[in-house]
C-alpha cells in the first residue's frame, strides 16, 4: 500500500469513526437506562452451595465412534481413578463488588462422585444478585484438604508429597482388535479458572436465597485436537496415546513414557495432513506428549456442565 493510499484509508476510517460516535453516543445514553444486568443485591440473605460434578466422560468413559462426543480414530478410553484437587472458589459482583472467597480445598475421585453432587463449599448470608466473576482452582493439595468421597489415604498422601493435582488411571482399548494399554497420569497442573460463564447467559453465577453452582470437571480434554474455544468444534482422537511406547517396560504408560515421546510432529500432525492445533494452551512449549497432557489437563474446569472458564497456570 502506498503512502497516498494509506492516507486515504486513514481519512475514511476517521470519518467513519466520527459518524459512529454520534450513534454510539446516543446508545450510551440509552443503555444505562436499560441496565447492564449487574443486578447487584444489597441484602445479605443469599446462599450459594458450590457442588462438584464429573463430566460423564469420566464416569462412563469415552467410546470410539463417529458421534460428536466419540473418539474418532477407533479407541475406547475408560478411567478407573480420576482423582483431582479442587477448591479456592472466588467470586464477586460487577466491578469487584461484594467479593467472596473460600479457602476450602478438596480432593475427590470424580469416577465415583455421589449422583447427588457433593458440596465443595458454601457461601451463606451473602448479598444476592449476579456474581459476574466466578472462578476456582485445581491447586496443589494440602494435608488439610477435605476428602470428598473416601479417596484412599495412600493416594492423597502421594498427591500431597509430589504436588500432583491429578491422579488418573485408565485403559485405552484399540477397538479393531481389542488390544489394551494401561495408563497412569500423576501430574502437577495447578491451574486457576476464572470468568466462568455459560454461553447465552450472564457471566458468573446468580445468588438467591437458595442457589447452587456446579463445578464440572471434564475428562476428555487429553483427547482433544487442540485448545478450542467451543467444545462443539473439537475433535477427539487417541492414536497419539496408543503410539506411546512403554519405554520402561512396566506395562503401564507413565510420565517417563510420555516424556520420551518427543516427536510431536508425528503425534500431533498439523493441517492439512492432520487436525491438531497446539496454539493457545496454558503450557508452552509442548515438546513431548507429557507437555500435551499437562496442557490439556489445565483446561478442564467448567461450571454447569459446559460453561467455559478462562484458564491459566496457578
Amino acid at each position: 500500500m502506498t503512502d497516498g493510499q494509506r492516507s486515504k484509508v486513514s481519512e475514511m476510517e476517521e470519518s467513519t469513526v466520527k459518524n459512529a460516535i454520534w450513534i454510539v453516543g446516543a446508545l450510551s445514553l440509552i443503555l444505562p437506562i436499560a441496565g447492564c444486568g449487574d443486578d447487584q443485591g444489597s441484602g445479605a440473605d443469599g446462599n450459594l452451595s458450590v457442588l462438584l460434578q464429573a463430566e460423564e466422560t469420566i464416569v462412563n468413559g469415552i467410546q470410539a465412534g463417529t458421534g460428536e462426543e466419540n473418539i474418532l480414530d477407533g479407541f475406547d478410553v475408560d478411567f478407573s481413578r480420576y482423582i483431582v484437587s479442587v477448591g479456592l472458589v472466588e467470586m464477586n459482583q460487577v466491578d469487584g463488588g461484594n467479593p467472596q472467597a473460600s479457602s476450602v480445598i478438596a480432593v475427590a475421585d470424580f469416577t465415583s462422585l455421589p449422583t447427588t453432587l457433593p458440596e465443595l463449599t458454601a457461601f451463606d448470608g451473602i448479598p444476592t444478585g449476579q456474581y459476574t466473576e466466578f472462578g476456582f482452582a485445581t491447586p496443589v493439595l494440602t494435608t488439610s484438604a477435605v476428602n470428598v468421597n473416601q479417596v484412599p489415604a495412600n493416594d492423597v498422601d502421594a498427591m500431597v508429597t509430589n504436588g500432583w493435582t491429578y491422579f488418573i488411571e485408565g485403559t485405552i482399548t484399540q477397538v479393531s482388535d481389542g488390544a489394551t494399554k494401561e495408563f497412569l497420569i500423576q501430574a502437577d497442573v495447578p491451574s486457576v479458572y476464572k470468568a466462568c460463564a455459560v454461553e447465552g447467559q450472564q457471566p458468573g453465577v446468580n445468588v438467591s436465597r437458595n442457589s447452587s453452582v456446579d463445578i464440572t470437571l471434564h475428562g476428555d480434554h487429553m483427547f482433544f485436537n487442540g485448545f478450542p474455544d467451543e467444545e462443539g468444534n473439537v475433535l477427539r482422537l487417541a492414536q497419539w496415546m496408543w503410539d506411546i511406547e512403554d519405554t520402561d517396560g512396566d506395562d503401564v504408560l507413565t510420565q517417563a513414557d510420555f516424556e520420551a515421546a518427543t516427536d510431536v510432529g508425528t503425534l500431533f500432525p498439523s493441517p492439512p495432513q492432520g487436525v491438531y492445533e497446539l496454539t493457545g494452551g496454558p503450557i508452552s512449549p509442548i515438546d513431548n506428549a507429557w507437555d500435551f497432557i499437562r496442557a490439556e489437563l489445565g483446561t478442564q474446569g467448567h461450571i454447569f456442565g459446559e460453561g467455559e472458564c478462562e484458564w491459566s497456570p496457578l
Partner: protein, 270 residues
C-alpha cells in the same frame, strides 16, 4: 470500514457497562527478523538461507485468555497481509494498526492465510507470498505454496556418520533443504495463533509496535537425521505436509516459539 465502526460502537456500549471506551489511534507497525544463526543438532550444523514469511491479519485484545470468544471486540487490528524477511534483523515497515485506546493483553493472528467464517476455503491475503489466492487444501493435488513461509537452508554433518545418520548405509556430508509452509486452521473463523502474550496500555501518546520473528528457533525443532534419509543427492530435501517435520515447524510457529511484540515510543516516524 464496517469492522472499525463496530469497534467504536461496541466499545462505547461496553463503556456504559463499567468498562472503558477508547479514542481512535493509529500505530506504526513493523516486522523484524533474526539474522541466520548457525546451530548444531544431532550431529548436523544447520544454517538457514531463506525465511520469507507471510503475516496477517492480527487482532489485539483486552482479554488475557487464549479463548478468542473472549475477544468479541479487538482493541487494535491489522487486517492486511504482508511479506517479511525472517532473516533480516532490521525493522521492516508493515503499515499501521488501527483501533482505540485501551489495555492489551493478548494477540490473535494468522500467518498470511485467513479463513473467514463466511468462506468455504481459506484465503492467502494479498501481500503475502503467492497471495492473494484461495488455498484449496482439500484438493488431492494440493501442495503448500508457502503463503505463510518459504524456507531454505543447509545441513552439514559435523560428527561421525553414525551420529548424523544412525543405522543408515550411507550418509550425505551435507544436504540442502526447503519447505513451503501454509499455516492452516481446522475450523473457519479461528486464527492460527491464539492468545499470544503482549501487555501494553494503549493511550493517545505516540506508540509503535515491532513484531520480531526468529525462524532459526523454529528449525531447531526439526529432526535433521530424518531429513538426511530423504536426501537423494538430486536436489534439496523438500518438506511436505506428510512429513512430521512439517507439522513440527507449524507447531513451532503457532505454539512453541511465537514471535515477540516490542512496543516503543517512536522517536522519529517516516
Amino acid at each position: 470500514m464496517k469492522r472499525l465502526f463496530w469497534i467504536a460502537a461496541i466499545s462505547t456500549l461496553a463503556a456504559s457497562c463499567g468498562q472503558t471506551g477508547g479514542t481512535f489511534v493509529e500505530i506504526p507497525f513493523r516486522g523484524q527478523g533474526t539474522e541466520p544463526l548457525t546451530f548444531a543438532k544431532d550431529g548436523w550444523e544447520v544454517t538457514l538461507s531463506q525465511a520469507t514469511l507471510g503475516f496477517g491479519a492480527i487482532y489485539f485484545c483486552a482479554t488475557d485468555s487464549a479463548l478468542s470468544s473472549r475477544c468479541e471486540v479487538a482493541i487494535l487490528e491489522y487486517t492486511e497481509g504482508v511479506t517479511l524477511n525472517g532473516l533480516d534483523p532490521t525493522e521492516q515497515s508493515i503499515g499501521s494498526i488501527f483501533g482505540t485506546t485501551g489495555t492489551i493483553r493478548t494477540a490473535f493472528f494468522d500467518y498470511g492465510i485467513v479463513w473467514l467464517l463466511t468462506e468455504p476455503l481459506p484465503e492467502a491475503l494479498a501481500g503475502v507470498p503467492g497471495g492473494p489466492a484461495i488455498v484449496r487444501f482439500d484438493s488431492p493435488n494440493y501442495v503448500p505454496d508457502g503463503h505463510s513461509a518459504r524456507f531454505a537452508g543447509t545441513a552439514t554433518c559435523i560428527e561421525d556418520a553414525s551420529i548424523c545418520c544412525p543405522g543408515a548405509m550411507t550418509c550425505p556430508s551435507s544436504y540442502t533443504f526447503e519447505a513451503n509452509v501454509d499455516v492452516l486452521v481446522v475450523q473457519p473463523g479461528t486464527p492460527a495463533v491464539n492468545g499470544a502474550r503482549t501487555a501494553q496500555e494503549v493511550t493517545t501518546e505516540p506508540l509503535a509496535l515491532t513484531i520480531v520473528f526468529d525462524p532459526n528457533t523454529w528449525w531447531q525443532a526439526i529432526d535433521f537425521r530424518r531429513l538426511a534419509t530423504l536426501d537423494d543427492g538430486a536436489g534439496p530435501v523438500v518438506l511436505s505436509p506428510e512429513d512430521p517435520d512439517y507439522s513440527a515447524l507449524v507447531i513451532s510457529m503457532t505454539a512453541n516459539a511465537l514471535p515477540t511484540f516490542v512496543w516503543s515510543s517512536p522517536t522519529m516516524e517516516p
